[in-house]
Symmetry: C2
Subunit: 682 residues, 2 copies
Amino acid sequence: MSTVKRDTNLSYNCWLGYRKIKNKDLLIEYKKAFSCISVFGETKTIDAALYELKYGISKMLGKTPRIAGSESSGGINIGLVDRFDILSSKEINDIGDEGFIIKNHDKRIIITGKTGRGILYGVFTFLRLMQLERPVSSMNVIDNPVNMLRMVNQWDNMDGTIERGYAGNSIFYRNNNFVRSKKRIRDYARLLASVGINGIVLNNVNVHHYETRMITKTFLPKVAALADIFREYGITVFLSVNYASPVEIGGLPTADPLDTAVREWWSGTVKEIYSYIPDFGGFLVKADSEYRPGPFTYGRNHAEGANMLASVLKPFNGIVIWRCFVYNCLQDWRDRETDRAKAAYDNFMPLDGEFLDNVILQIKNGPMDFQVREPVSPLFGGLKKTNQMLELQITQEYTGQQKHVCYLVPQWKEVLDFDTYSKGEGSTVKRIISGRVYPQKYCGIAAVSNIGDDETWTGHILAQANLYGYGRLAWNPDMDMNGITDEWIILTFSDHPTVVKNIKSILLNSWRTYENYTSPLGIGWMVNPGHHYGPSVDGYEYSKWGTYHRADCFGIGVDRTVKGTGYTAQYHKRNADMYDNIESCPEELLLFFHRVPYNYRLKSGKTLIQHIYDTHFEGVEQVREFKSKWLSLKDLIDPERFEHVLDRLNTQIEDAIEWRDVVNTYFYRKSGIPDEKGRKIY
Amino acid sequence: MSTVKRDTNLSYNCWLGYRKIKNKDLLIEYKKAFSCISVFGETKTIDAALYELKYGISKMLGKTPRIAGSESSGGINIGLVDRFDILSSKEINDIGDEGFIIKNHDKRIIITGKTGRGILYGVFTFLRLMQLERPVSSMNVIDNPVNMLRMVNQWDNMDGTIERGYAGNSIFYRNNNFVRSKKRIRDYARLLASVGINGIVLNNVNVHHYETRMITKTFLPKVAALADIFREYGITVFLSVNYASPVEIGGLPTADPLDTAVREWWSGTVKEIYSYIPDFGGFLVKADSEYRPGPFTYGRNHAEGANMLASVLKPFNGIVIWRCFVYNCLQDWRDRETDRAKAAYDNFMPLDGEFLDNVILQIKNGPMDFQVREPVSPLFGGLKKTNQMLELQITQEYTGQQKHVCYLVPQWKEVLDFDTYSKGEGSTVKRIISGRVYPQKYCGIAAVSNIGDDETWTGHILAQANLYGYGRLAWNPDMDMNGITDEWIILTFSDHPTVVKNIKSILLNSWRTYENYTSPLGIGWMVNPGHHYGPSVDGYEYSKWGTYHRADCFGIGVDRTVKGTGYTAQYHKRNADMYDNIESCPEELLLFFHRVPYNYRLKSGKTLIQHIYDTHFEGVEQVREFKSKWLSLKDLIDPERFEHVLDRLNTQIEDAIEWRDVVNTYFYRKSGIPDEKGRKIY
């Protein structure tokens, strides 16, 4: 650990640090144009927008802007669209409920929208443009979110722990109660709103004893207090619920969704929730999965299970988000017929069209479980008559646990851009989840958050980029990866070309690098059981979890073609054919789809085994390269954050070596094939 | 689980159940001979002996014996030797302080000794002979314990957990305090005394926060209360101490054994302990091992560390028992030079002769760690000028965790009978630890207990045999294994020939059976990390613990010969040569000492790989055989214990199958060599 005393503010502020404008001429121009703010309209969210605007401008200009009465017409004007006559009807029609307009007009900057949310998003965009030091004349933006629901899922438990959390404890809970101080929660709301997140699930999908009681009088006042904070920032709160609540807290003998008493109990409960939180979002449900209760217990299917909840939420405009992460978690490793990858499709595809219109299926990507490399879930493009959301994982459970830098935006982009061909070419995942391929009443994107009460929020400062990038992609999945990355670096650190270049190089190479020294070619896992950190090639090989690589002395991989488990048949024919044929199967997914001998030649001309050796040696070298790129930023970054990242990179090098040596040794011992380059394998 | 309501007494009483005498004629004879008890002498231990005698006779005869004044001269007479004129001086000289005489003389049965302990051991022996239904005329015994110290080590923590405990929680502690009810503790003392145990270490060798404070005023009154109970049953209490106590509770800046203040602190502490417990035994110390503090921290060696404590205990006749389980537990798996098996010898052999005469080195067998099969530690026969104790493990950490039947007496017999050749032929381990090869002021045997607060004491009723057998071997390691086993079965269950035959067959085959389906030929481990239950062949292969099998596609095993790590050189030449040569190396230890290709032919004519397959298939069949032998006892054993053991045997079959399949699959995948018999391997 570095002994330098840290200035936690820089880490804490993330991309909302608002450094003073560097360009002197621009500073003068900004000071002139932004010295006064006029506000039109009064809502809590407009108040928040004003607060943010004032705070950001003050920090960037070193001068607090004057707040004028709403009659003033110079400087910055914020308010709802109907207060600005100068907007054309086309402009007004071009934005939806959450869209915004930033308009540079006649010495005024107008930031407007049809709702407080729209104005807030406009303000954060405006502040971003300022920090990026864009000229005032260029400040004309009309923008709308592409996804309707842009959510984060907190896997926080009321005891203060966070399932798969790597950045300290929960900012929401401690000792089976809510934390008292709300400052940090408000700051989290600010961070989320600044990138356009509009929904949050406040508790873990695994709903334990105390969490089950969040929907009761005991805790509802406290949930409502959180909802008040998030509401100001345009964020709707949701809760994860325990499907067995009618039994566990309702005193009923059953939780059967078709039982009248059960339905009435939920109906009463929902009514009570809305009496505390009138704009409550709804429920997230993990049912019949990994020992969680669900409708299967009562011989009902997922549609029956979800629809019952949906029908009682409907009068309040609430929704049910139902997770598709359902599989047999008591598989026998000897069983080669069952294929966990097939489970979500097998469970939910037959129910397409049977869900009420306020149910959304939340589909985890990939089909197995957030591995460093997986194909896209075939439910995308499969389901045609069902509301859908994509579930991603910002927290780095299988991608370095925020000890390693692993920037996930490139991975997410691949998922979002994947063409399912469901309704012809261009039926990409991003178009499906935004309702542009099949009409959906509710749809969007969700991701498991990576924050905790660590001073850096995310444990690793560079992991802040994942939260930022997720929000930006959730807003608009077409956004350019380079642009998002540049933005984050400049907002967070500096626009110095070396800083931008080096950090960008680290970030954009980090996912592939992590993949290089961990599990190869889509095979997944190979981690220590339970905590999932560090290499253990056979760690899950003889377990009940359905996650096997089946390496022997001849080869490795799972045959998921039509001749194997038949998983490929779940895709649209064009993709099914691509994956089915070892020649056309993307090589990075080779071992996910095929069982391959070690001497198989890849397109590079290398054998599979040599590829494994080479990528693992390369992976370590790449991390060393990250370190040298980081070291060259010593005088360009504040010492606190410089040392913090350097510490983590040193750990990453050490751990990457361990990964490299364990994986290479494992395969060398198993195959008996030496490294062509004669490097040290143990 | 069986639904039969259990009579817990039968399980709880263990081998002290005292069934009514079955043989009618003998019952009449016994009733006549044992209807009256006269006591000569009054000590707490003689009181306990009288209590036991009365209790046992009452149960076996169905009639409470009359207690006569000490003047009476018929029936049973118990008392110290000097109260019986009829004893010859040869008889009196033939027994030591803890020996006893049972003498059938002129219509009297005299049970006597030179101490209360001797009398107590005589009484328990007498009761055993009664339960075995021996005629009164045969009741003439003179016996002495072979080992001086016959100890159990409790790995109990004050929070109530037991490290490596598989029979519930501690009977001593709960919630970081002592339990209030002492009944169970007294019953444990009775069980221990009945097999001749004379010392107990009351807490875990890993001494945590609260346990560190057991040597302070806070807890000493409570330790003293336990000592009072054990004293009645002739058992001396010891404590495990934290070597860093002077720092942690003494407020000193150091725990350096050569520091005067440290020495004075310990001196004062010891004085205080003896003010509460005048016959306190002394300290057990795990120092500089697995993160426990020790003299190394201060640049002192183990002799300096132990001698300091010994010198302050000496005035009170206290002793220091210093564990030799010292090794590098941060080994790099890549390092093939370091050999954990060598560590104890390397650490302690150079110090031979440097320890004070009230220090005993407690040497764990084997040299690695309580595996199902290991060679004997080379410190036995190596050390010539140092007090020594053998440390065994009754609790089945690596031998089935009391879910599997694994009777360890055969293993212990092999260890005890092992000839070190240290001082010529016959320098067996049992003769060394009893001081018959080299003179030692203190020596003996210790074992980690397998009991907890489970109704059965040991989790598995058949595991009671291990506690019994340990005590009997501690008393006299020359005792015949068949005899011990028969005794235990008859005392515990019945003398029905089928019961004796079948249970004996299960017990005597169980160790080899467990070995068959778990780790082969002395290689050890292959268990899940942490809890050590169930198969994980690579579980410790890439860890820091120094326990590697190094299997690759060609072979398996660790070369510990002089051409390898050189471990064999730690033995006397005759053994070193035996182990060094693959031809003379006992095959059950083949992979402990040699790296062997899978196609190596064993003496059976089988290849190594075929041996692995065969033993694993056989192991499962043997457990099935246990079950069928057990099932045939259905009407010969009480339903409670019958069902209990049956439940465990079913679990054992299931788990043995898992072991078999995982291990066979692992080696099949690694070697690519199919089973000659074409059985199913996955």
